[in-house]
Amino acid sequence: MAKVLMKGNEAIGEAAVLAGCRYYFGYPITPQSELPAYLSKRLPQVDGVFVQAESEVAAINMVYGAGSAGARVMTSSSSPGISLKQEGISYIAGAEVPCLIVNVVRGGPGLGNIAPAQSDYWQATRGGGHGDYRTLVLAPNSVQEMADMTIEGFELADRFRNPVLLLSDGVLGQMMEPVNLPEPRDYDVNSKKWALGYPGKDKAERNLCSSIFLDVEELEEHNWHLYQKYQVMTDLFSEGQYKDFAVEEHLCDDAEIILVGYGIISRILKTVVEKCRKRGIKAGLLRPKVLWPFPTKAIQRLADKAANFLCVEMSCGQMVEDVKLAVNGKKPVYFFGRTGGTIPSDFEILNEVDKIVRPD
């Protein structure tokens, strides 16, 4: 298929359709509004369902319902709306229902503004709602990856029976880049034996989607079961099948300073690395593509080689905590951030690098 010039938000929508997603439930909020607009037009063309819900709270619960009935289903929002969805996400994680949740992050806290930000990292990677749970968090850095990770996100959600969060930002949502769209794939709503209404089950069987375990021992058992699943995921993403999917390393082998950033920041950091190299500074880029499970081991390996780490974010410093945990005191970890919707320029980051590697 030929390349198409698309906005990031629209690429997610088209990729969802190609992945076999036929159900979208959402509520308007900037800067993700192109996505529901796109799907409100696209889904009816493929006999899909688009519902504009009365609230974010209702939307995520429609996702819970549809997902529990076996649908490949998604919702999307921006930061304040994702906060509202946390109740439902907690239930979905507890009941182990797969779904895709897109957060096109904007500036916070509170109403903040509609400019791009990365200040929802903690919310995304720590679970977000109440209880002992995790969501798998993917962080694209291009319109192409918005599409690719949407499709992969549905597959991962089904594989692990877990909500998957696509953590994007206002720039990636709004920018246009050429996209190679994959071939459409089929999805059968009757492919999940555990789903409500699954027609193939024995008459004596019945399926239940629930997150309540009133008995203390039962809930503890359930929580350890979830924990074990999260451990399996962690292993697969750090050493196993998804090792290469989880992280991108660029010129790290001989680097004296490793720049760490995800999403749109990683693109800027790549330019910074090029500029550093031209100036004789051996810089490298480590870019987590999956934010949970965090690529701790990849950073640990580099901590044995590189002299310094500089983590750059569009926040006051959130992912830097995970970088510090991974480096574990072996090398200095510096932080540079802009917040409130400001995108750091390659020049100011270069300046920070200079301060670290050429302190005089």
Partner: protein, 198 residues
Amino acid sequence: MSSKVERIILAGFGGQGILFLGKVLAETGMRAGKNVSWIPSYGPEMRGGTANCTVILSENEIASPMVTVPDTVIAMNRPSVARFNLKIKAGGMLMYNSSLIERQEFRDDIRLVEIPASDIAEELGNGKVANLVMAGAYAKFSKLFTVEDLYKALPDFMPGSKKELLEINHTAVEKGFNYVEEKKYMFGRYVYSVFKGI
């Protein structure tokens, strides 16, 4: 202008079709086999009455899609010149809509290209195609796509448009392209200080 990459900031009033013009350049570049990116105005510069977007055309993979120092600024109104003039790379280019922007004291280290885009568009009977006049003019300078690429891509930008409108679009591009050729461009003609700005 580097032959490998062209970083463009396009700016004007809302309603002048700035975002669309950016899309035209990006899509044409993409069809010519180049890497492209397009970002609408974001951050502090979105305030102050101008709509703007950033387009990068490149032979290589585009790392950062953000542009701090543009090679070219296409300005459709006065506030856009004021806002972006000083950001242009030394040796870069300012293309401006001389129907709405008078000659004035510009920097002397950039190439100046004046195009009365709004007047040309009005003469064609549709003021809205001033943006396509600019697209034609830009094709003159681009090393990453040709005006033929632009003509070829044009009908697909407005699918379902009437034949007359498509013809006007085509003529607008042609006029913009030819105007630059006829008028030539000025280089350091209005010499003044970079520091004073405008």
